[in-house]
Symmetry: C2
Subunit: 239 residues, 2 copies
């Protein structure tokens, strides 16, 4: 009989205690598992400790998913599930399968006819969208934008144009040390009336969400390194 | 001193007990509030009963947000928050501000400089995306598609084309009694290799998530009324 693949969200930062961000049902499901497919073993062990898994970490099977896994690697990771071992899929932060390579494991689980159970937990993208006040009836997540100009500014202009045409909120992310450069590029590229939200440190004591028109962002510049170490979701809505 | 606007997710269906879908921290924040801005007072009262609010329902201020609120109506609803009363914003199901009119209240709260706190809880869109196994690095939510052909088929073809070009998962929803008609339209419009996921009754005992190629959906047709009463998220990824 097949096991089940549980999709297990974790914290967005260790300073959020689990009862603040995980339902008891999610934690209980995680604590019943002893096998996990993860992005990195080290941070997965920290996450399992954070949620108070009852077994000693050495007793758990924690298997890392390669960044670009081959079909054979995915099948090898899913073989124990086919043989009956319930397994948890975990990301580095937030929800597995969203903005990470875990989706390939879930897709293959469907092909193999394995039951898949998504569990409730924090997602920085979803919390950012809620908190931004921007259009929540139509939105798109684009991952990372190009790192350099002119490609980056061209992409920003394209996203702004598409946002206006479709009345669609555009979400994207950046590696924290480049957040400042991305903000600068947004302020110099977008129209004054466009709404820009920066949502950072979501669920953490330092949580900070600001939505302003580009013109207001320009007149009240953020201190240069405020966003440099904070995981930040960028959201844009053109008008 | 300003109050805080709490963004309070609720269940996707009453048969999910709150400890399965809400963190204790979310429930505690809700139980400390005695004023709520909601979509419909009746279902909001049911949700507050479901999460076991300690006060009698008659003691709570529950104010309905019009479907297309005017700026004056939004300001009236936010005036008590400006005067110091912490207030919870709730949707009919899942997360406020996502696929509902609540975002306008949040946007105005930012303009007024009111603190906004998003709380963790279930979102059918996010759970569907996780569980689908489709592309989670790029995705877009489009709300409802046109109800009639040829507009509906034209929109489906456009979404499929865009999905292939951008490698982007397309999410959309329908009123349950029209789910069957939308599925039929998808099966007749999309290419055989396109992946289609139907995710329904998420978090409920009847949860059901299926991801298949269009060709497979065609060869194993769903029973005509299986989806007719189930809240369903549709997800499409062209290849």
């Amino acid at each position: 009989m097949n096991g089940t693949l549980y999709l297990l969200p974790i914290h967005l930062g260790e300073s959020a205690p689990w009862p603040d961000v995980l339902p008891q049902g999610t934690r209980e499901a995680a604590c019943r598992l002893s096998r996990f497919i993860v992005e990195q073993a080290k941070s997965a062990r920290a996450a399992l400790k954070w949620l108070g898994h009852p077994l000693p970490l050495q007793a758990l099977a924690i298997e890392a998913l390669p960044e670009s896994p081959t079909p054979a690697e995915i099948d090898r990771l899913l073989a124990p599930v086919q043989a009956g071992t319930d397994t948890g899929l975990m990301s580095e932060a937030g929800c597995p399968g969203i903005a990470d390579p875990g989706a390939l494991v879930v897709r293959r689980a469907h092909e193999l006819g394995l039951p898949v159970r998504p569990l409730v937990g924090p997602s920085s993208l979803l919390l950012a969208l809620m908190a931004s006040g921007l259009e929540g009836q139509r939105f798109a997540f684009h991952g990372y934008l190009p790192q350099r100009d002119p490609e980056r500014s061209r992409k920003i202009a394209e996203l702004e144009r598409e946002s206006r045409q479709k009345r669609q909120t555009q979400l994207f992310i950046e590696t924290p040390y480049r957040n400042g450069a991305l903000l600068t590029a947004l302020l110099s590229t977008c129209r004054p009336e466009t709404l820009l939200c920066l949502a950072c440190d979501l669920t953490l004591p330092t949580e900070h969400v600001v939505t302003r028109r580009i013109a207001e962002w320009r007149s009240r510049p953020a201190s240069a390194d405020f966003y440099a170490k904070r995981p930040t979701v960028f959201l844009l809505l053109a008008r």
